[in-house]
């Protein structure tokens, strides 16, 4: 008897890593990879960096070559949306009307860019999540001297601001937080970045956006909310703009799952420590909120590294579950080669990086949500710094700007498991004092 397929929904970093791992670990049965974008799986971090800059063309972003994909023997459904999942029977429905009963499903549908009321259909107002988004923004910014207002001063807004300045545009970065990226990395690292952006000519503003000025269906400016703007800046509550980038965060792509009571979709798809959302249903990447066994609470990361690592972990644990499942074992055995993998809790050391101008930030562990942060600026002008993030008396995250790779890897080892705060401080000092 032939096995039902395993299906992976979402054909990007996490979904591809999951599909590859299923094959590497021994799944020889049918494997369906479903993605609603028309493109072969591509990488997102360069969208706000090399692609927006024009240094790279879309082909450079492909995560795997055609040959590498062919070797996976996938039933690859691009331009196809999953529209529903019945968790109990592990049955997917697709937007072409097809129903697909599966042996197991891995959900890797990521997140979608948030937008603002009134933005839809306005020429010149952009978001930046997909390749099509990035190409549209790049086309809009052809030439130099555009007046670009970026709404949102988190990591995406900051990266786009850096590229747009390098391209010679007039850039204003508006955020409700007075210091860019402060929520992710703390105020002192954020202030260091703010200095770098100012030095490159970006105008930083603290305000909420109330709406857009338009003319003939095209944006001509951004209106800042009265009263919420910083008192000193209240005189100018309209920012002229021919292009606006909304970089105001994202929402997990869980809407298509409906309201199946078997699945908890509050802020992503809730999973256990094994990345399982329900029997035979797993999740990975930006969409997955799982119980991190080391940090002891549910976490969800929108980091590129986590997408690959979690895709691989979900694949392993799904196969382990199927191997151990009661019922018709012959179907699984026929479709599987080698020894089934062991089930393992997913306990990564989270990692993210960001490139802005020549500054590279690299962070390990949890940097958001810290209750204490100690930042050491090693060289202000050179933007070299290290920061330690603590929670409940333990160091849980570390960030490096402008440090050599050996030191960065040393810092990773330091917070791989939570260390008492004082001990971690000493070790950071020792690690950054030498070399």
């Amino acid at each position: 008897m032939t096995a039902r397929p395993l299906a992976v929904v979402g054909a990007s970093a996490a979904g591809l890593a999951a599909a590859e791992a299923l094959r590497r670990l021994g799944w020889r049965g049918p494997l369906t990879l479903i993605g609603d974008e028309p493109h072969l799986p591509y990488d997102r971090p360069p969208l706000s960096k090399q692609l927006l800059h024009g240094a790279w063309e879309p082909e450079r972003l492909l995560l795997r070559s055609k040959d590498q994909l062919a070797a996976l023997a996938l039933d690859l459904r691009l331009g196809t949306r999953a529209t529903g999942l019945d968790a109990a029977t592990r049955t997917l429905t697709l937007d072409n009307g097809e129903t697909l009963p599966c042996a197991g499903v891995i959900i890797a549908t990521g997140v979608a860019a948030r937008t603002l009321p009134g933005a839809e259909g306005l020429t010149g107002v952009h978001t930046l999540r997909t390749l099509d988004d990035a190409l549209a923004l790049r086309a809009r910014l052809t030439g130099t001297g555009h007046r670009l207002v970026i709404v949102g001063n988190g990591v995406l807004g900051c990266e786009a601001a850096a590229v747009a300045r390098e391209l010679g545009h007039d850039v204003t970065l508006v955020g409700v937080e007075p210091i860019p990226m402060a929520a992710a990395v703390g105020t002192e690292i954020g202030e260091l970045l703010a200095e770098e952006h100012r030095a490159h000519g970006v105008t930083l503003r603290t305000a909420a956006v109330a709406g857009f000025d338009t003319s003939g269906g095209a944006v001509t400016g951004v209106r800042l909310a009265e009263g919420e703007a910083d008192a000193r800046e209240r005189e100018g509550t309209r920012l002229p703009a021919d292009t606006v980038l909304l970089a105001i965060g994202s929402t997990p792509a869980v809407g298509w799952l409906g309201d199946d009571p078997a699945l908890d979709t509050t802020d992503g798809l809730r999973c256990d420590a094994y990345c399982a959302a329900a029997p035979g249903i797993y999740a990975a990447g930006d969409v997955a909120r799982w119980e991190h066994p080391v940090h002891g609470r549910p976490v969800r990361f929108e980091h590129r590294m986590n997408a690959s690592e979690q895709g691989m972990a979900a694949a392993r644990n799904l196969l382990a579950e199927l191997a151990a499942e009661e019922g018709d074992q012959s179907a699984f055995a026929d479709a599987f080669e080698g020894a089934p993998p062991e089930r393992r809790p997913f306990a990564p050391v989270p990692y993210f990086w960001s490139d802005q101008y020549a500054v590279k930030l690299q962070a390990y562990g949890l940097t958001a949500g810290a209750d204490r942060i100690e930042t050491t600026v090693l060289d202000r002008a050179g933007r070299r710094a290290v920061a330690l993030y603590g929670r409940d008396g333990h160091a849980v995250g570390v960030l490096a700007a402008g440090l050599p790779p050996r030191q960065v890897r040393g810092l990773r080892a330091l917070i791989a498991a939570p260390v008492p705060w004082e001990e971690a401080r000493e070790r950071v000092r020792a690690a950054t004092a030498t070399g």
């Binding site: 970093a13 890593a17 590859e20 791992a21 590497r24 990488d43 971090p45 360069p46 450079r60 492909l62 995560l63 795997r64 070559s65 590498q68 590129r304 590294m305 997408a307 690959s308 690592e309 691989m312 990692y351 990086w353 490139d355 590279k360 690299q362 050599p404 790779p405 050996r406 960065v408 890897r409 990773r412």
Partner: protein
């Protein structure tokens, strides 16, 4: 097994060095990947496949 790199794409994450330190290293000045052994011995193959899968910039290509 033969390894090729598209080092221009490297974002200096260093994950390859953590997984297969005998095969990959990073340049001191900018963290860009360096290949120590383009045809590693069989004992390294699993680690190399893992590094290729995990690299967040799709830099490492493995030919078998």
């Amino acid at each position: 097994m033969k390894i090729t790199l598209d080092a221009d794409k490297c974002c200096a994450a260093g994950q390859c060095v953590l997984v297969a330190p005998e095969v990959f290293d990073q340049r001191d000045e900018d963290g860009i990947v360096v290949l120590l052994d383009a045809e590693p011995p069989a004992g390294q193959h699993d680690a190399v496949r893992e590094a290729a899968a995990i690299c967040p910039a799709a830099v490492i290509e493995v030919h078998e």
